[in-house]
């Protein structure tokens, strides 16, 4: 393998800037696309974070008038939409793009050009959404982004209540980018099912591959209904159809069901990759095989299944019959069991290990600690009577930031620290990484912990202001201070990436002493990934290689 140390195309070093651009724009290589996905996702993360910062600034004190109500409403809509569709989705697709083919010993995805198409659809969808700031004529003739909330409940989105074209931009932007996601999801399924290297049977796939398979299946099943619902809404708005038009007999409840039939699986689409990353990282840094592999797989599959049947827990306050509420309370609570299994197995992997707390592991541990909280508040929310109190309050905002930020984003940072050396050949700085972790960890808890309290004190979400007499001041102030700490953390990250790209330590092929196939090739990997398609005999091919005296395949 030493022959491959200088990766890829020898011409690349000489290429001009334009030539390099052309190479990136026209590429169908899964690794380049992966990098493009993740980079775009991180840029959108900064934008989404900036939007959140502005919201917290407005909410820091009561009766504040920094932002007008409609500006605030646009901000949370764009923040939520951006974070879910333009940060979470591209990063998970990007990491899968880069890592999955390498972990299954393939040279690319099954349909490379479809893959490139998917990326560009995503990017243009995202740009279309943001173009609304300039393009959509608001009611008073100014550019305006959508202000209907990320789940865009009809009939607020109907022409009667949402004039101008901002909502059309929301629909079209998401339609375009979710077609990209569906295409990439299909691509991933096909790749995983048909392109594994010799010897990699289903039960010998790394956990990450399993989880991403289920994730892609969820994308394939859950995103088309959203597209269908959005198309109907678009017909309502542009052609005068009546699907969600309450004056014409349409149903407001229908949109809610359609959206959440997509929306709930969507949040699992977002968290499953996080599970995937920590399932790779924890064993490597504990120097111990993952505990209970078959159970991990079973839990993943059942999470996928159950998540398609719980959407009504977002509608507990809608006044459905007690029977319906009870049934969906039950199905929602069921999810705690397989998710709990995963938690237990990760902790089970740590117990008895020899844990190295490098930054990827630090973030993974942070993930465990924070996702647990988010999961438990989720179970509280699934208790219908309690949900009647806190639904649509800041308690819910607290819940989903614990799972989305504490869960997904922490895992994404873990993944970035873990695979950055593979992708760039450079190590990220451990010192800066630790600073980033602690600042984010503290800032995060300071921001989102108090939200649970203000929610239970009666503070609804999506309010641009509140009166001083309601006892919410302290909690909001704490939240807003927390954001400052988070900004410091994110700044450390940006600085770390820039610094390490310029003068980071060389990583070598296998800096973490890893066990899956991506560590068997150079960093960065050559265009064709592997000189020779590897053969595997267990989930941990590199363990077998490094410990020929006690290989895994003897136990599996």
């Amino acid at each position: 393998m030493t022959a491959l140390d200088h990766s890829g195309n020898p011409l690349r070093a000489k290429a001009t800037f334009l030539g390099r651009m052309h190479e990136w724009v026209s590429t169908a290589d899964h690794k380049k696309l992966g990098v493009m996905y993740v980079t775009t996702g991180l840029l959108f993360f900064l934008i989404g974070g900036l939007e959140a910062t502005m919201m917290r600034w407005q909410l820091a004190v009561p009766d504040s008038s920094l932002l007008s109500p409609s500006d605030f409403n646009r901000l949370f809509t764009m923040h939520g939409t951006t974070m879910v569709f333009l940060v979470g989705m591209p990063i998970l697709l990007g990491v899968a793009n880069y890592i999955i083919p390498m972990q299954i010993g393939a040279r690319d995805l099954a349909f490379p050009r479809l893959n490139a198409f998917g990326f560009w659809l995503f990017l243009f969808g995202g740009l279309l959404l943001y173009f609304s700031y300039f393009g959509a004529q608001g009611l008073y003739g100014m550019g305006s982004s959508p202000d209907v909330g990320w789940f865009a409940y009809a009939p607020l989105t109907e022409r009667t209540y949402s004039r101008g074209h901002s909502t059309d931009y929301w629909i079209l932007g998401l339609l375009v980018s979710s077609f990209g996601s569906i295409a990439t999801g299909i691509n991933l399924i096909t790749t995983i099912l048909t392109m594994r290297c010799p010897g990699m049977t289903l039960m010998k796939m790394p956990v990450m591959v399993w989880v991403m398979l289920i994730d892609a299946i969820l994308i394939m099943i859950a995103m088309p209904p959203l597209a269908a619902a959005q198309v109907m809404l678009l017909f309502d708005r542009l052609m005068g159809a009546h699907f969600f038009d309450v004056q014409g007999g349409g149903s407001a409840i229908l949109w809610q069901n359609l959206f959440w039939f997509f929306g709930h699986p969507e949040v699992y689409i977002l968290i499953l990759p996080a599970f995937a990353y920590v399932s790779e990282i924890i064993p490597v840094f504990c120097r111990k095989v993952i505990f209970g592999y078959p159970l991990m797989v079973a839990a993943t599959v059942s999470i996928g299944f159950i998540s398609l049947g719980v959407w009504v827990h977002h509608l507990f306050a809608l006044g459905l019959s007690p029977m319906v509420n009870t049934i969906f309370m039950g199905s929602t609570m069921l999810i705690a069991i397989p998710t709990g299994l995963k938690m237990f197995n990760w902790v089970g992997t740590m117990i008895g290990g020899k844990i190295r707390f490098d930054t990827p592991m630090l973030f993974s541990t942070g993930f465990l600690a924070l996702f647990l909280i988010g999961g438990l508040t989720g179970v509280m929310l699934s208790v219908v009577p309690f949900d009647w109190q806190v639904s649509d309050s800041y308690f819910v905002v607290g819940h989903f930031h614990y799972v989305l930020f504490g869960g997904l984003v922490f895992a994404i940072f873990a993944a970035i620290y873990y695979w950055f050396p593979k992708v760039t050949g450079k190590m990220l700085s451990e010192t800066l990484g630790k600073w980033q972790f602690w600042l984010l960890f503290i800032g995060f808890n300071l921001t989102f912990g108090p939200m649970h309290v203000s929610g239970m004190l009666g503070m609804p979400r999506r309010i641009y202001t509140y009166h001083a007499d309601r006892g919410w001041e302290l909690w909001n102030m704490l939240s807003s201070i927390g954001v400052l700490v988070q900004i410091a953390g994110v700044t450390f990250f940006v600085w770390n990436v820039i610094q390490s790209l310029r003068k980071g330590k060389d990583a070598g092929a296998d800096p973490w002493d890893g066990w899956t196939l991506e560590w068997a090739t150079t960093s960065p990997p050559p265009e064709y990934n592997f000189e020779e398609i590897p053969k595997v005999y267990s989930c941990r091919p590199l363990w077998d290689l490094k410990h020929p005296e006690d290989p895994d395949w003897k136990y599996e």
Partner: protein, 209 residues
């Protein structure tokens, strides 16, 4: 413990035959079909939900969609679309056996039958819009009908476009036995479009009435 030594990636181990159920094309097409089913499933679920929910006095399905009287245009059209599935299967078989001529004929028949269906839909729409005055903005029935049937027709159109492309290539002499697998994938898509029609027909024309 064993005394095996690591020489390369391929440590000695029980040799494992590589078994793959599907090739990429088939798997990809199946996935596409599943996601399309999710899409149509949603549209149809909405249609079902709205059956009979229209304010009285507007156009109802039973006023304009009649499958029980004489020419039964829709049934007639449906038969064309459904039988085209048979022709395309025969065409693929011919190609797999290397019978290009037979392939071309059956393929053309498929296209013609599909086109007949599309023309039939067009005529039906003309009748509904121009004669009965039912449009997408009339009422819930109009919204649902044109959306569901329209999306199906759009899929038929895409299918016909692809089928015609293959037909042109055949005429140019570019189709060979080795393309049988790709053509089979296209036929899966066509079968799917037919299958969806059965669902649409049942829900829109039978249950909806």
């Amino acid at each position: 413990m064993t005394t095996l030594k690591a020489q390369s990636m391929t440590v000695q181990a029980p040799p494992e035959p590589k078994s793959q159920l599907l090739n990429s094309g088939k798997c990809g097409m199946l996935c596409l079909i599943v996601s399309e089913i999710a899409f149509f499933g949603t549209l149809l679920a909405v249609y079902l939900f709205y059956i009979g929910k229209d304010p009285v006095g507007t156009i109802a399905p039973s006023d304009v969609l009649d499958v029980s009287v004489a020419p039964m245009k829709v049934v007639f059209n449906s038969i064309f679309l459904l039988t085209s599935s048979i022709w395309i299967t025969l065409a693929v078989r011919c190609l797999a056996r290397g019978n290009i001529m037979g392939f071309a004929l059956w393929w053309l028949l498929t296209i013609l039958f599909g086109a007949e269906f599309l023309v039939g839909t067009g005529m039906e729409w003309y009748g509904l819009i121009a004669v009965e005055g039912l449009t997408i903005r009339t009422n819930l029935f109009g919204s649902g009908f044109f959306t569901v049937v329209g999306f199906h027709a759009a899929h038929v159109t895409i299918g016909l476009f692809l089928l015609s492309l293959v037909f042109v290539l055949t005429c140019l002499g570019k189709m060979h036995k080795r393309h049988a697998e790709k053509v089979e994938l296209l036929s899966w898509y066509w079968h799917f479009v037919d299958g969806i029609w059965i669902a649409v027909f049942t829900i829109v024309y039978i249950l909806g009435n």
